[in-house]
Amino acid sequence: MIRYVVKRLMMLVPVLFGVTLVSFSLLQIVPGDPAVLLAGEDANPEFIEAVRKEYGFDQPLHVQYLRFVARAVQGDFGISIRNREPVIRLLLQRFSFTVQLSFLSILIAAAIGLVAGVVSATRQYSLFDHASMVGALLGISMPIFWLGLLLMLVFSVHLRWFPAGGSGELRHLILPAIALGAASAAVIARMTRASMLEVIRQDYIRTARANGLRETVVIYKHALKNAMIPVITVFGLEFGYMLGGAVLTETVFSLPGVGRLMVEGIFQRDYAVVQGAMLLVATTFVLVNLLTDIAYALFDPKIRYE
C-alpha cells in the first residue's frame, strides 16, 4: 500500500511539469501584454518598459520559463503583477477558502444524494422515487449562476435569513454551498440509486434477509457498503472539481476562492498567479484521485494495492 502511494505521488512530478509547460505556452499564445494592460487606456510608455523589465517580460521566452520553473521548485511562485502580493500567499488564502466551501458543498451533496438515492432504490417506482429523480434532473440542469441568484433573491433579499454576499463566517457559506452542491447531489443520488438497485438483487442480500436480519441492517450494512464503489468515484470527481475552484459560485456570491483568482488572473494576464493556481489545482486533483483509489480499498476488501 505504502509503495503504491509513493509511486502515485512520484507521478505528480511529470504531471506538474506538463502543467507548467502547457499553462506557460497558453499564456504566451493569448494576445495581450500584461504591462500594457496594467497601464490602462492612458498608458505611459516608460512605465510599460519598467514593468516589463521588473517582471522579466523582456527576456526570451525560454529564459522566462526556466526561471519560473527554477523558482517554483524552491516554492517561490513570484509576485502578482496586480497587487504585488506574493503568489504563494494569495494561493494559500484563496485555497483555504475553497477547501471550506468544497467541504460544506460535498457534505450537503453527499447527505442529500445518498439519502435520496438509497430511498429511491428501496422504493423503486414509488412517488418518492419519481419525485427525487425529477429533482435530480433539475439539480443537474440548473445553471449554477441562476440557482445562486435565485437563492440569494429568496433567502437574502426577501426572507433575510442569509447574507447576500461576503465571507468570513459559516452563514456566508450556506447558500453558495447549496448552489454548488446541488448538481453534485443530483449526480450522487442517481449513481447511488442505480448502484443500489443492482446490489439489492444480488444473492447475498436475499441470504441476509432469509437469515432474518432487520431490513435497515440489510440495506445500510450489506447493500449500501457494496454499492458504494461507483458512488465513491463520482464523489471523488465532484470533490476534485470543487477544490479546483468554483468560479461561477464564487462570482455570484462574491467569495474569494481559487476559481476567481485563476480566471481573473487570466483576464489580467497575471502570469505568475495563473501558473501558481494551475499547479495548485493540478496537484489537488491528483491527490483527490489518489485518496479516492485508497477509499475503494476501505469499502471493498477485495481491492488491494500491491
Partner: protein, 511 residues
Amino acid sequence: MKRTLLGATLVLAALLAFGPGAVQAQTVIYAAGADPDSLDPPNAESNPSEAVNRMIYENLVKFDAKLNLVPGLAERWEQAPDGLSWTFFLRKGVSFHDGTPFNAEAVKYFVERMLGPEKPSRAALYTPFVESVTVVDPYTVRMNLKTPFAFFLNNLAHSASGIGSPAAHKALGKDIARKPVGTGPFKFVEWVHGDHLTLARNDAYWGGKPKLEKIVIKTVKEDAARVMMLQSGDAHLAVRLPAEDIPRLEKDARLQLDSTETLRVLYVGFNCQKKPFSDVRVRQAFNLATDRDSIVRNLYRGRALPASNIVAPRTTGYVPLPAHPYDPEKAKKLLAEAGYPNGLKARFISPMGRYPKDYEMAQALQQQWKQAGIEVSLGTMEWAAYLAATRKPVDQTDVEIFLLGWAPSSAEARWILYPLYHSDQWVPKGNNRIFYANKEFDDYVDKLTKATVQAERDKHLKLAQEVLHREVPQIPILVTKETIGYTKKLKGVINSPLELTYFDQNTHLEK
C-alpha cells in the same frame, strides 16, 4: 446517518436564529465592482484603487465636488509671474498615520520619487514639467518647472499625487502598494485580496475626528449581487449599478440613488492615416450617420448625454460647441463626393463590458451607419487583447475603426487634447491611437499648455476644440453617468465626476 442529519438540522437552525449579524454603529459596508490594484497613488491605475486612495491619502491641492481647486495639505500657493515656479505654504501639525510629520521634506521626497528611477506609472504628471523641488523652510516648498504649465495644479490634485509617508516608502519600497500610509481621514487596516479591504478612522486627523469608525470595502463583481446586497441591507452603498435595475431601485424608499455626470466620453476613432478615413468627408459622413439621441434615449434610458465634443462639459477648459446633426442623406452625399457613391465597407471593433453598454452601442452604430450606405463588420476582443490591438504602431496596425472611452483623470481638457490628438503622441509612444497629425492643432495645444495667463490658455483651448469639431478625427458619442445607490441613513457620500465614490471626515450614518 440519522444522528448526523439531526445534527446538521440543528446547526442550520442555530444559524438561522442569528441571521445577518448586527454591524457596529458607525461601520459602513461599501460594495465595489472590482478589487483595487495598487494602494500606492503614483502607481494606481484603476478607479477602485483611486477611490480607496482618496480616503487614505491627501494632496497639496484638492478637487471639491465641482472639481474646483481648493486647499488640501497646502493652505495656499503662489505662482511666479514667469510661470516657472510654484511655492506652496503647507498646513502645520499634520502627521502621517505612522507618526511621521508631514512637512516640506515629505513633499520633496514625494516629487523626487515621481521624477526618479523608480518610474511610477503616473510619473508623466511630473516628468515633462518639473525640474526640481526646493525646501524653502520646514513648511514651505517650491517646485521649479522646466516650462510653464497651465494645468499644473490639476496634476497636483490628481489621485496619483496623494502624498505618502516617506518613512514608510523608505522601509517598504514598492510594497507600499499593499501597506499604504497617508495623512487622510482613514487609515489602512487590512486587505484580503478579492474579498474585502478595511479602513479605520484616523483619530488624529487634522480636519477633526472622522465620524465613521470603520469602512469595509467588499469586492462584488457580479452586478446582480451588488444590487441584492443593497436591497437586503448587507451593504450600505453599492457603486456601478446596472441601468436595468435603476428604475426598480428608485422605488425603494430606503435607498438613495445618485447619478453623476462623469468626465468620460465614449467615442469612435478612425485610423486617420489610412484610406478612406484620411478623408475628412468620410469621417464627417460617419458623424452625420450617427444618431446620438436615439442611443441615449433607447439604450441608456437617458442615463448619458449626447456629446458633440470629446471634452465633457464638467471638464475644466470645456468649450460648448454646436451639436452634431443626424442626417444620413447628407452623409450619403458626402460619401459620393469623396468617391464612394455606392457606400463603403470597413472593419469596426468594440470592447465588451469595459464601459456601460459598450458593445450594444457598437451594434446600434452598425445599424445606424447602414442607413448611409456604410457597411461595417463588428468584432470584439477581451480587454487585454483589445488594448494591445489598439496600441500597435502605424505600420503594423490593422485596426480601422474602434470604440473607446476616455476620461481625463486630472479633470482638465489638455489631458484629452494632448495625449489623444497631438502628433508626437502616436501609439505606442503616447495615446494617439488614430495617428492624427495636424500642425495647426499641435500649435494650439502647445500654446495652451505653456500659457501663463488664463485668457491666453482659454483662447487656444477653444481653437483646438473647434479644429476637432470640424475635422472629427474621432466622433464623440456620449458622456457617461455613474449611478450609485446607498441607504438613506448614510449622509455625506462623495460621488465625484471622476468616477470615484468615497467618504471624508463628515460622512456618517444616522441612527
